[in-house]
């Protein structure tokens, strides 16, 4: 074996050792957990700044408004449905909070209304969430719709989120729902 071969063999062994060491170290670190996979918003940290609507890589954000019916007060004068300065409680666009008309409501019984989000219309702006959190029970909240999310290795919204509400979660907790809280 000449000098070149010797050096090369040493180098190969070193490189192989490095792979084994890194692999082994990382395996022990990630053992027993399914890992931080999905991106998700912590609804209790979210401040509804509106960046979810504008900063997602998708043309229409993967962030959608979710509704926890079990938290909702079913009010007629809903802070998420109507704008704060509303004069008449009707469905004229200038009275409604949602800019895309994604929130609909259905009369249940006096004096309760059931609110439903049409996720195909929702753009994740969080205006209704702000209204509901400020004046209501906070049953409306923003979540990343995992069917739509592209699972970017670094969430573009997370990078600009002012309250650090977007974190990675594991497979088992893909959503942080308010009903279960």
């Amino acid at each position: 074996m000449d000098r070149r071969d010797f050096l090369r063999t040493c180098g190969s062994l070193l490189a192989g050792g490095a792979i084994l060491a890194t692999g082994g170290l990382l395996t022990t670190k990630s053992k027993g957990k399914s890992g931080d996979v999905f991106w998700q918003i912590d609804p209790f940290a979210c401040t509804q700044c509106g960046r979810c609507e504008t900063d997602c890589v998708l043309p229409v954000s993967a962030v959608k408004c979710f509704h926890a019916n079990k938290v909702c007060g079913y009010c007629d004068l809903c802070g998420g449905y109507y704008r704060p300065s509303v004069k008449d409680l009707n469905t004229a666009a200038e009275n409604l909070m949602c800019p895309t008309g994604a929130i609909t409501r259905k009369f249940v019984e006096e004096p309760y209304f059931e609110y439903t989000i049409d996720e195909s219309l929702c753009n994740g702006c969080g205006k209704c969430v702000k209204g509901c959190t400020s004046f209501g029970n906070g049953s409306l909240f923003l979540q990343i719709q995992q069917d739509l999310c592209q699972q970017c290795n670094e969430c573009k919204i997370a990078r600009v989120c002012p309250s650090d509400a977007i974190k990675r979660v594991s497979y088992d907790e893909a959503y942080k729902l308010k009903d279960h809280a």
């Binding site: 890194t22 170290l25 990630s30 249940v108 995992q146 069917d147 290795n153 670094e154």
Partner: protein, 411 residues
């Protein structure tokens, strides 16, 4: 506004009691879809290994470009357009760095495999992954028509960029500031048919360039390619242009898109052994000096670099706000104040982050210095070759030279 600020604390107090329905109203069941991510990840890994295996077979046994070309197409379609480019091996560097630097981050198993398998294959067979498995490389490979050569000096200088890129990636990933590679990925927008227009423009420019120069991204930008080239240089098996005798026709050299074929050379004026040894000792002494200089130079600028971190940026915005209270509050400052943030606590956090930055900036600087020193050392080693040979560090195993070699065509 006051109400809004109070509620920002995040506690969902029930301002209105739960309605007691008398009409037998049932709460609607709501189902939120979760993709079968784990299943897809298993398929990703199977395809990754399968395609790398196919490339090894095609390059070493079958010696055919056709198979490599087909895996390239599959890779662009599946890993690129279908799986929309995330997470890829290039980007997984950052997840691995983060997992090593930050124990609170749990590295998913498949990201670890996506990172380590191509490296393992590189150590065994060379840059198999680059060949026809990486969607970024495959996309450039598929549209390449001509090879205009850059001069050796230019391409040697440009090939430092991936290492510098890798060094900065380490700083930013280890401190949880941002994932540089993902942010400046020129092709992900093309695969997703939408995204940041600036990066898509850059990607299209790179693709136009790759019509005339083989794989500009892989050669002059890709940090994972730089990493693989180290392991490939030390690989167990080495690819040969032909199994028969080389007739020095130079056709393979002309066909190579990434300038990975070294011409035969004979040192004209043979230098004395002692002069050669002296030069090598000089460079060997210079190597630690370069490393040290790099560490010091980049380490000194760590505070400036740390501005890329959210909290440091926020702290600077806060300080500026205090200095000029009349300017409009940025959203970050507004949120910080609304959440009742404590400036002293933030300052402590910022100090901690800057401390980390200092550590990783020194490390990254040392890496850059070492690479520059090592490249110089390598330039000074002149080997004489009698025939055309593949430089396994650069070779991306496209298989073009096989078909160009007249010896291979002989029956």
């Amino acid at each position: 506004m006051v109400l809004a600020l109070q509620s920002l604390g995040g506690i969902a107090e029930a301002r209105f009691p739960k309605p007691d329905f008398t009409s037998g109203y049932q709460y609607p069941d709501i189902f939120h879809g979760v993709p079968y991510e784990q299943l897809w990840n298993i398929l990703d890994i199977i395809l990754l290994v399968g395609m790398m295996g196919a490339v090894v077979w095609a390059a070493y046994k079958k010696r055919s470009r056709a198979v490599i070309y087909s895996t390239s197409i599959i890779s662009v379609l599946y890993f690129g357009f279908f799986r929309s480019g995330c997470v890829c091996s290039v980007g997984s560097i950052q997840n691995v760095i983060l997992a090593l630097a930050d124990p609170t981050y749990h590295l998913p198993w498949y990201v670890l495999l996506i990172f380590i398998l191509p490296i393992l294959f590189a150590l065994l067979f060379g840059r198999v992954f680059c060949s026809g498995v990486c969607p970024l490389g495959a996309l450039q490979e598929l549209i390449n028509v001509r090879n205009f050569r850059l001069s050796r000096a230019v391409s040697a200088t440009l090939s430092l960029i991936p290492w510098i890129y890798l060094a900065f990636t380490i700083i930013y990933a280890a401190t949880r500031s941002q994932f540089l590679i993902c942010r400046f990925d020129p092709f992900v927008g093309i695969f997703r048919l939408g995204g940041d227009m600036g990066m898509i423009g850059f990607g299209i420019a790179l693709l136009i360039l790759s019509l005339f120069i083989g794989r500009p991204f892989c050669q002059f930008l890709c940090p994972y390619g730089a990493l693989l080239s180290v392991f490939s240089a030390l690989s167990w098996k080495k690819l040969e242009i032909t199994k028969k005798d080389c007739i020095n026709c130079a056709l393979c050299d002309k066909s190579c898109p990434v300038d990975a074929i070294r011409q035969p050379q004979q040192s004209k004026a043979k230098e004395t052994r002692s002069a050669g040894v002296k030069r090598i000792i000089l460079f060997a002494v210079l190597l630690p000096v370069f490393t040290f200089l790099g560490a010091v130079l980049l380490g000194q600028n760590s505070d400036a670099l740390s501005r890329a971190h959210k909290d440091v940026y926020l702290y600077e915005l806060l300080m500026e706000q205090q200095a000029h209270p009349d300017i409009e509050e940025p959203l970050e400052v507004e949120t910080f104040n609304a959440l009742g943030g404590n400036v002293e606590e933030l300052k402590e956090k910022v100090d901690d982050i800057q401390h980390q930055y200092s550590l990783y900036a020194h490390l990254a600087g040392a890496l850059i210095g070492f690479v520059i020193g090592f490249k110089l050392l390598k330039l000074s080693l002149k080997r004489s070759r009698k025939t055309y040979e593949i430089d396994s560090a650069r070779c991306t195993m496209c298989g073009k030279c096989f078909n160009y070699c007249p010896q291979n065509l002989k029956k």
